[in-house]
């Protein structure tokens, strides 16, 4: 996605962790590149659709609520990654999204497949230029 001057105020001084997190258009949401032919969705760029080989894509918003279909509680990670954390796959109305489950104690008693969650954002910190990076995860919605 190219950087464009936007008229939306809140984007000043904030950047999303990844391209597919949109911050500057009201409530945060995720977007995907959707194949205009078969509807398959991808979070990165593709030369052709992995499902049907068509070459036209459009950017579409992803539902911000979903259901956990797989998770793990990671206790051992690369240096610099705070553990434990919950890594999960969330079914957002038919689109599978990877993300951490946040704002909940990372304990098997608190996390289960089938639980409903919603998109949430958090600060990744402020850089030397005063710009804040915003990450996303999913928090329990029940």
């Amino acid at each position: 996605m190219s950087t464009t001057e936007t008229t939306h105020e809140p984007s000043a001084g904030r950047v999303p962790h990844v391209d597919y997190l949109v911050l500057d258009n009201g409530d945060p949401y995720l977007v995907a590149n959707e194949c205009t032919s078969c509807g398959a969705r991808f979070f990165d760029r593709r030369n052709a659709c992995a499902a049907c080989f068509a070459t036209e894509f459009r950017v579409v918003p992803i539902a911000t609520a979903g259901t956990v279909t797989a998770f793990t509680i990671v206790a051992f990670a690369a240096p610099g990654i705070p553990v434990p954390f919950v890594a999960a796959v969330v079914d957002c109305n038919g689109t599978s999204v990877k993300g951490n489950i946040i704002n909940v104690e990372p304990d098997p008693a608190n996390i289960s497949t089938g639980m409903t969650v919603r998109l949430a954002t958090f600060s990744l910190g402020i850089d030397d230029n005063g710009v804040e990076a915003i990450g996303y995860g999913f928090e329990p919605a029940g």
């Binding site: 391209d19 992995a50 797989a70 610099g80 890594a87 796959v89 993300g99 951490n100 990744l124 990076a133």
Partner: protein, 406 residues
């Protein structure tokens, strides 16, 4: 030379898996090659192709190994296909024979992995100036692993097992630990395994958590090792000694698949569909079914992975993997022994060696040479590996009917 439909393993070997501080990749690979050639009663002069697999090294291991065991000018294929690298090397040699390019070839897989630690995922680069700068395919301003899920091997395979439970039910953390208990128990009879200690359920569940529900002993052991196999066409084998013919093991199917597009495989690798596709193709080619298998070596890189592959290899009804395990079937004394070698969790997982070492295990039983852990009267076995990305290799092996007293 003409194209051959029949392929046999003539000689095969695996080194001891574990820590080999005094041996490098070339030493280990050469050791397995020399032993496989010796096992088959042939030399490098007989080989028409060398296929060599090694993931973590500097590349070109095949040519380095030739310099170690014999340079004859034959074509060398250096292959790299994640955890399916060994199986891919073997299949490369098999394809050359099937194509009629040669009648004998050798495949080797070797890895130095002891102490490698956590595999998979990527770590954010460090720089002096702290500035959020988008980079890479996702335009990420910092590392994503650990912040947007995790692509480390333990995290991915844990999710794959949990996902199976979500889909079919009847699965809890203890079930996965009991699968690990089985494999560690099996390993006590395998002198070539990296770890040969039985572990109780309590020990396994109480060990260090890596990625829930997998604790440390439920993860494959990073270690050093090599395995090599000599393959030969049926027509060539028929010109060889009766002893060579008797010990040869028939490759009834050699299949390699990758994952077809599925919605969720874009964010969590799908190890299921391509394994099922490979199994279907292998059973069809070999003319055998899951109930004919006397033993199975499947890719238990984590305890959570073993469960889903019971189902993917159709050892049970769809959705019935937990019941299959609970019935006792995959124990050494059960109806369908799985990972009699101890599996990757205790035998170890020197990545590129794994896809040939599992075939060595099956051959060992089909030849009646497996000693204390021998599955009596074994006639048919299956070896399976999967590498993320994904690549799946399935080989069906059968006791040779050649060279036996008519």
């Amino acid at each position: 030379m003409s194209a051959s439909d029949e392929i046999f393993i003539l000689g095969i070997n695996m080194t001891k898996f574990g820590k080999h501080f005094d041996k490098d990749v070339v030493d280990l690979g050469a050791e397995a090659m020399m032993a496989a050639l010796g096992d088959g009663g042939v030399t490098m002069a007989d080989m028409g192709i060398l296929a060599a697999g090694n993931l973590m090294g500097s590349g070109g291991v095949g040519q380095q190994l030739q310099k170690q065991v014999g340079q004859t000018g034959i074509p060398v294929y250096n292959v790299s296909n994640a955890c399916a690298t060994g199986a891919t090397a073997l299949r490369t040699a098999i394809m050359a024979i099937k194509a009629g390019e040669c009648d004998m070839g050798i495949a080797v897989g070797v890895e130095k992995l002891a102490g490698a630690g956590l595999l998979g995922g990527s770590v954010a680069k460090q720089s002096d100036k702290h500035e959020w700068e988008p980079s890479g395919r996702l335009g990420a301003v910092t590392g994503v692993d650990g912040r947007i899920g995790s692509a480390t091997m333990p995290a991915l395979f844990a999710q794959i097992g949990v996902e199976y439970g979500h889909k079919y039910g009847g699965v809890d953390a203890e079930l996965f630990a009991r699968i690990s208990e089985k494999n560690h128990s099996h390993s006590t009879l395998n002198p070539l395994a990296a770890y040969t200690k039985a572990m109780s359920l309590e020990q396994i569940m109480g060990d260090m958590m890596i990625a829930y529900p997998n604790t440390r002993p439920m993860c494959s052991a990073n270690c050093d090792g090599a395995a090599a196999a000599v393959v030969v066409s049926g027509s060539k084998l028929r010109t060889m000694s009766l002893e060579q013919q008797r010990r040869a093991v028939k490759v009834s199917a050699s299949v390699l698949t990758s994952d077809p597009y599925e919605e969720a495989c874009q964010v969590l690798p799908n190890v299921n569909t391509l394994t099922r596709n490979a199994a279907i193709q292998a059973y069809e080619t070999a003319g055998v079914g899951p109930s004919d298998l006397d033993l199975v070596e499947l890719h238990d890189c984590f305890a959570t992975a073993e469960l889903v592959h019971y189902d993917n290899l159709m050892l049970c009804e769809e959705g019935g993997a937990a019941d299959f395990f609970n019935s006792g079937a995959p124990w050494r004394t059960g109806a369908t022994p799985v990972n009699v070698s101890g599996g990757l969790q205790s035998k170890g997982h020197p990545i590129s060696a794994t896809g040939i070492a599992n075939i060595w295990e099956v051959c060992h039983h089909l030849r009646g040479e497996a000693g204390d852990r021998q599955i009596d009267g074994a006639q048919v076995g299956l070896a399976h590996v999967i590498g993320l990305g994904s690549a799946c290799g399935v080989h069906v092996l059968e006791k040779s009917a050649l060279g036996s007293a008519a």
